[in-house]
């Protein structure tokens, strides 16, 4: 599903050069639930961004569904992100000026989906995360766990095969974290491929496979 080969990512600023990823070789199979762990600053987010086609590696090749994406245009990459990948972030990244329903509809705005079915899909996605009764609320009126469930609904509304979650439980207490983890496991059971960055060993244990990073290098 996702194939990374000899990935290297260097961040250059005028003063320093950071080697965020160093010779990463990874193969994420269809239907897998993989977790990534490692100390802060070791390159976990960078790795997820490279997989999610949000960031270009300095070296190496990225393949999605067997297709190398290195030569893709911005438009083609945007289309792949929209159709194949769902993102979940530690800080939720909800748009505060939009209702829950409008937030969940956003990925569908970037494809030609009509207003009516768009709302239907968004409502279905919200039902899946148990937030049907919060559709007209604004993000500010929700708890952290509820916000993250909205973000999950947004990630799955377009039926992507791959879900990339960057510390989805990092801002939540353990009860809420468990709730989120349960939803992710359900999605995985329904066939979604999930890659999740986490600091929590307990969460990692509930996934199929664990990848450990240290200073940009894969150690397990």
């Amino acid at each position: 599903m996702i194939h990374l080969q000899n990935i290297e990512k260097v961040y250059r600023t005028s003063t320093i050069e950071t080697l965020a990823l160093n010779n990463i070789n990874l193969d994420i199979k269809k239907g897998e639930f993989v977790s990534i762990m490692g100390p802060s600053g070791c390159g976990k987010s960078t790795l997820l961004n490279v997989m999610g086609l949000l960031d270009e590696p300095s070296k190496g090749t990225v393949q999605l569904d067997g297709q190398p994406v290195m030569k893709y245009t911005d438009k083609e990459l945007a289309k792949l992100r929209n159709q194949k990948i769902g993102f979940i972030f530690q800080s939720f990244h909800l748009i505060n000026d939009l209702t829950v329903l409008d937030n969940v509809e956003i990925p569908l705005l970037y494809r030609a989906t009509n207003g009516k079915p768009r709302q239907e899909y968004a409502k279905e996605a919200l039902a899946k995360v148990g937030l049907s009764n919060r559709m007209k609320h604004f993000p500010k009126q929700l708890s952290g766990g509820q916000k993250q469930r909205v973000a999950i609904a947004r990630a799955i509304v377009g039926n992507p095969h791959i879900i990339l979650a960057d510390e989805p439980t990092g801002n939540l207490d353990s009860a809420m974290g468990n709730e989120i983890m349960t939803i992710l496991q359900e999605l995985n059971n329904e066939g979604a491929t999930i890659v999740m960055v986490t600091h929590d060993e307990q969460m990692a244990k509930r996934t199929h496979r664990l990848i450990r990073l240290f200073d940009g290098t894969q150690v397990v």
Binding site: S45, N49, I106, Y110
Partner: protein
Amino acid sequence: MIAHLFKLIWNKKKTHSLLIVEIWASFMVLFGLATLIVVNVRNYREPLGFGYENVWAIGLKANQDTVGIADKLQRVQQRLRAYSEVESVSRMGSNVPFSSSQTNNGIEYKKRKILADFYATDENFAKTLDILVPLGHWYRNADSVGKYTPVVINQNAKEELFENENPMGKIIGDRFKVVGVIDNFKAKGEFMSNKPAVFELAKVDATWVDTMLIKVKPGTDAAFEAKVVKDIAAMVTGWSVEVDYLTDMRKNQHNLVLVPIIIALIVCSFLLINVALGLFGVLNLSIAKRRGEIGLRRALGATADGISIQFIGEIWVLATFALLIGLLFAAQFPLLNVFDVNAGTYVTAILIAMLIIYGIVTLCALFPSRQAANIQPATALHEE
């Protein structure tokens, strides 16, 4: 996507209210200015209705002299006609074309009463000013028989008084008999609106008909002007003689219209530049604040161009809100007929003002929206 942007802006209307008021105010000012300009452009495109090249106005004032004024005026006219440089001479009241003086009177025909500009002239007036008379003829002294004074009216007066009726030979305002109809007569220059005008044959003994319009041969210069002034002064001692070229008077009339418009244009430009800079600043700031959202949208499938278009779209939505409010106000002018300006002029002015507003907000949004498109999604998401 448009509905999405409307929602986004609508939900943020409080933060944007100042901007909306600014855009609305700019629209109102632009609408006023555009109306002024459209009115004048429309007037300008209406033909003037007479020729003014090589026509001089000679104003005569008797001052202390009280003896035989009318007779002296007639002699001056005859003397002027005798010069080989002079093609035609006409005697009229002081409201010569492009002058600042004007005379108007109410006039009536079959209960239809209008206000018209009145000119007391003689039989040479049409010839001196190259006025064509499509219907009937310019009055002659011989037309003055019985108790009626012959008059010529312009097309505008004809339409308002007679509509489709034939005006020839009709009596208007008790003592005037129509002998001819001319097209336009816009005495105050091209920017004047085409108004009803009535020309009556002046009585030869009217002492107040004391201005001579002379049409000189092309190329006649100031030396001749000096000679004329000297000759007249010798004929009528104690009188003052003043010569004005109609071409110069026309320029003065134009300046009277154009100068206020130009001042308004300059003031308006400053206002718009101010609003534009404010808008630009607000947009730059809002994009800096919304880096996270930009990164997120890219992650969810927006292209760099899509982000750029979104920001321009948002400002258009904002402008549309402001313009809708502005339209509510602007629409009152044609609906209530506040000034004597036709609805088409207002509609044109509204469209022009809207176009300029959209143009300005687009220009202001162009650079910030490009900045937004260049934001790296991974970096932007990383920051929060």
